[in-house]
């Protein structure tokens, strides 16, 4: 009964979404107040219905209702309750319901935090979101209904994929989806602004906090994905350039460009058309990511789904969304008035370069991800490009970006002079270069060209970020007055940029100085790696709730003979799916990770074992977390909460010089 209730709620949600896609937009076009007024209640009803549907599905999992096919395929009565809950989004059907729950949740949030928006504009935003919701709900109901019954009911479930029975899976998809779906808000704001013809600085101001929040969720989702792959896939890599990773990395890259171009549109009323295009592109890449992951076209560890009907539906929907938004753009863009003027050397130009580089980086990833699929579809051969392609291209594209990143915040809007910039930056450049070389030499005693470049760039970004903060602080007397005069958004930017520096240090040092060894080990045997001694002490059999395992004990001592860690890697066999799983054991630290994974028994007491020593690995995630936290600070800035509705009536003329002058 309860699954049918959930199914019914989904169908109702589809009808609500269709009304939501039509009435508010029609109302806004014809100035029909009652129709405009429907926007908020419809979006809230939509959220309520999806909450109900999601709760029904979760209930079926907690109760282990194996008469529901999706539950029977992805759960088991021996599964601990928390994995039963996370199993709801562990496979295709449920993850789509979860996706829709988030989508309607964003819509609900827009209705709550929109008191300062003009009603007409809000109606259009909600309408566009309703259109997207309708597409996804139709997709779920036609091709991927999670409430389908299994007749006769299964006695026992087939269990959740062991790979997904992990805390990483509880957290990774929700954060990633929040990011993916969050960009639908930025997209809806852009399309709503196009429809209404009010593409101005106020629009950019409204969409900035939403875009930043979506971006920070996507950042966190990517970090968690990387962390999960690192310890759960068992082989110590933190990024594989897997097509699934790429499909969440591309929206992140373009989303980063969008955040920067929105800043220019808000502060200088420039780049308007470009910003709109970026908003459309970001969400389109989110949809493309959904297509790649959900259609099963990929040769990848993530591609669990396999059903052509689904792929065709998403591809069609992607075509409709991109086509329609570009048509609206073509129809409305000629009316967009030109933005504020700026010189060749100005912060605007540098941010434009930032955008171009990020789009080029996205294109690089897109080329590597889609070409193999296209060639295969055209029967031109089965090819693949591996990490070497990306590892060659990415530093090449990113090095100029990081150089510019140091200069940008210290450059004036509108017009800057080379002399002034050189004067501001001369000492920073010298310190970054000398410091970068010195640090690598002191830490490792050896260095390649890439390591020195990485160290210098990291130091460069961190120093220039601190320098621009310092310039801001110096404008006021008194420490507290100065600290509180700087807006939260500025702290956010500084923190995020320093995070990039920290991330560069992590990537550079981990790539250059990691050591690994695959070994045949018997109990009692030791091996030296990266200045540590790993002793394979013993192996024993243990039993978990739904698996049995072999667990080894590996004692790690440092060069002076002190014990630093006892690592207990496991090899698990899950009872239902009977597939072996490697549970690596990791001793993490700020300056190094020690990592041991058990591969397979080689007869007798001997095991194949992989040992890792990875310096500075945690800095990668630390840097990314700093970026996400910087995003949070930026989105919390007070100026986004002041009532822009009143402000807007004053700032109506888009080229108002007064608006352009106030930064």
């Amino acid at each position: 009964m309860i699954p049918e209730l959930g199914h019914f709620a989904l169908i109702l949600a589809l009808f609500v979404a269709i009304i939501q896609a039509i009435m508010p937009i029609a109302g806004a076009a014809r100035g029909h107040l009652a129709w405009i007024g429907m926007a908020r209640p419809l979006a809230r009803a939509q959220f309520g219905l999806l909450l109900l549907s999601f709760a029904a599905l979760t209930w079926a999992f907690i109760q282990s209702d194996f008469s529901v096919a999706y539950v029977a395929n992805n759960s088991n009565s021996a599964l601990p309750w928390y994995y039963r809950v996370s199993a709801v989004w562990g496979a295709h059907e449920g993850s789509l319901v979860f996706w829709m729950l988030m989508m309607s949740g964003w819509g609900f949030a827009v209705t709550l935090f929109s008191r300062s928006l003009p009603e007409q504009f809000l109606a259009r935003v909600i309408g566009v979101m309703g259109f997207i919701s309708a597409g996804f709900l139709l997709f779920i109901l036609l091709t991927s209904n999670p409430f389908d019954r299994l007749v006769p009911a299964a006695l026992e479930g087939r269990d959740l994929n062991p790979l997904l029975q992990d805390v990483g899976l509880i957290l990774h998809p929700p954060l990633l989806y929040m990011g993916y779906v969050g960009f639908s808000v930025a997209f809806s704001f852009a399309v709503a602004a196009l429809l209404g013809g009010h593409l101005d600085a106020a629009w950019a101001r409204w969409s900035r906090p939403w875009t930043t929040v979506a971006w920070l969720f996507l950042t966190l989702g990517n970090v968690l994905g990387s962390w999960w792959a690192y310890y759960e896939l068992g082989w110590g890599g933190w990024w594989f350039w897997d097509p699934v990773e790429n499909s969440s990395f591309m929206p992140w890259l373009v989303g980063t460009a969008l955040i920067h171009s929105l800043a220019v549109t808000e502060k200088r009323a420039a780049f308007k058309s470009w910003t709109v295009l970026l908003a459309i592109l970001t969400f389109s890449l989110s949809l493309l990511g959904t297509f790649l992951v959900r259609s099963g076209v990929l040769v990848s560890v993530h591609a669990f789904a396999n059903d052509p009907a689904r792929g065709v539906f998403i591809l069609t929907f992607l075509g409709v969304v991109v086509g329609a938004s570009l048509l609206i753009y073509a129809w409305r863009a000629p009316n967009i008035k030109g933005g504020g003027r700026f010189d060749l050397l100005s912060r605007e130009t540098l941010l434009l370069l930032n955008n171009i580089i990020l789009v080029v980086a996205t294109a690089t990833v897109l080329l590597g991800t889609l070409t193999p699929l296209l060639l295969d579809a055209l029967k031109l051969g089965k090819i693949s490009v591996g990490p070497p392609y990306y590892n060659f291209m990415f530093p090449l594209v990113m090095i100029p970006l990081v150089v510019l990143m140091g200069i940008g915040p210290l450059t004036r809007w509108g017009s800057a002079s080379v002399g002034e910039l050189a004067q501001r930056l001369r000492y920073t450049i010298i310190i970054a270069v000398i410091g970068g070389v010195a640090i690598t030499w002191l830490l490792f005693g050896k260095a390649s060209v890439m390591v020195i470049i990485g160290s210098v760039l990291a130091l460069w970004v961190i120093l220039t970020s601190l320098q621009s903060l310092w310039r801001r602080l110096r404008q006021r007397d008194g420490a507290i007055a100065a600290l509180s005069a700087v807006p939260a958004a500025f702290y956010g930017m500084t923190l995020a940029h320093i995070g990039v520096g920290v991330l560069i240090i992590g990537v550079t040092y981990t790539s250059a100085f990691s050591s690994e060894k695959d070994l045949r080990m018997v109990p009692g045997q030791s091996h030296e790696l990266g200045g540590y001694s790993f002793r394979f002490a013993s192996i024993e059999k243990i039993t978990g709730p739904n698996y049995t395992a072999q667990r080894a004990q590996v004692e790690v001592t440092n060069s002076s003979g002190e014990q630093v860690a006892i690592l207990t890697p496991e090899k698990r066999i899950y009872r239902v799916q009977t597939s072996p799983m490697t549970e690596a054991a990791i001793d993490g630290g700020l300056f190094r990770d020690l990592y041991v994974a058990l591969s397979e028994p080689l007869g007798g007491d001997a095991w194949a074992v992989r040992l890792y020593h990875k310096p500075f690995l945690r800095w990668i995630w630390l840097g990314a977390l700093m970026m996400a936290f910087g995003g949070l600070l930026a989105a919390s800035d007070r100026r986004y909460r002041i009532d822009v509705k009143q402000k807007r009536t004053h700032a109506e003329p888009i080229n108002d010089p007064a608006l352009a002058a106030q930064q």
Binding site: N161, L163, L233, G234, W235, V299, V301, F304, L344, T349, I356, V360, A363, T364, L367, G368, T371, G381, K382, I383, S384, V385, G386, P388, Y389, F392, M393, L396, V397, D518, L519, R520, Q577, T578, S579, P580, M581, T582, A597, S599, E600, L602, G603, A608, R610
Partner: protein
């Protein structure tokens, strides 16, 4: 042309050149790092350019896995049901590597004619078959069916 216009033109031109260089580099890097997939039948028919690094895939032949007793060296056979390739590998295997499972190996054919793998991939799902392997097995089956048909035709007068 005014000086401002001239400067702007130079800026746009250098931008176009920059993006062009990036595109050229990306395409050449792509070409250099492109890996083709060949089936055991392709290898038997000498379709692989000599010395090329490529991917080969198929089912691990039951009983073919031979391990060294004192190191991580091993050898095994992979088949697309028509032809078989012998693969040599040193190192750690993925969790789902087992006899009868579809796998993909990356490497090149050594001077002794044995495929030397630098990486062996098996997917984290028992029921999953790498699409390349699936296709090559289908193709091999079709060809053997055709061959049978032909031999049947030649036999009947």
């Amino acid at each position: 042309m005014t000086p401002t216009r001239k400067r702007r033109l130079i800026a746009v031109a250098s931008l176009v050149v920059g993006i062009g260089i990036a595109a050229a580099l990306a395409l050449s890097a792509f070409k250099e790092n492109m890996l083709y997939f060949y089936s055991p039948t392709d290898i038997a028919q000498d379709k692989v350019p000599p010395g090329a690094v490529f991917r080969v895939g198929g089912l691990v032949v039951a009983g073919s896995v031979v391990r060294s007793s004192d190191s991580l060296d091993m050898r095994f056979d992979v088949t697309d049901t028509a032809k078989t390739v012998n693969i040599r590998y040193t190192g750690i295997l993925p969790d789902l590597f087992k006899e009868g499972q579809g796998i993909v190996a990356l490497g090149r054919i050594g001077p002794d004619g044995v495929f030397q793998a630098s990486e062996v991939l098996a997917k984290h799902d028992e029921t999953y078959m790498p699409p390349e392997v699936h296709d090559s097995i289908e193709k091999a089956k079709r060809q053997s069916a055709q061959a049978k048909q032909q031999s049947a035709n030649t036999l009947t007068p």
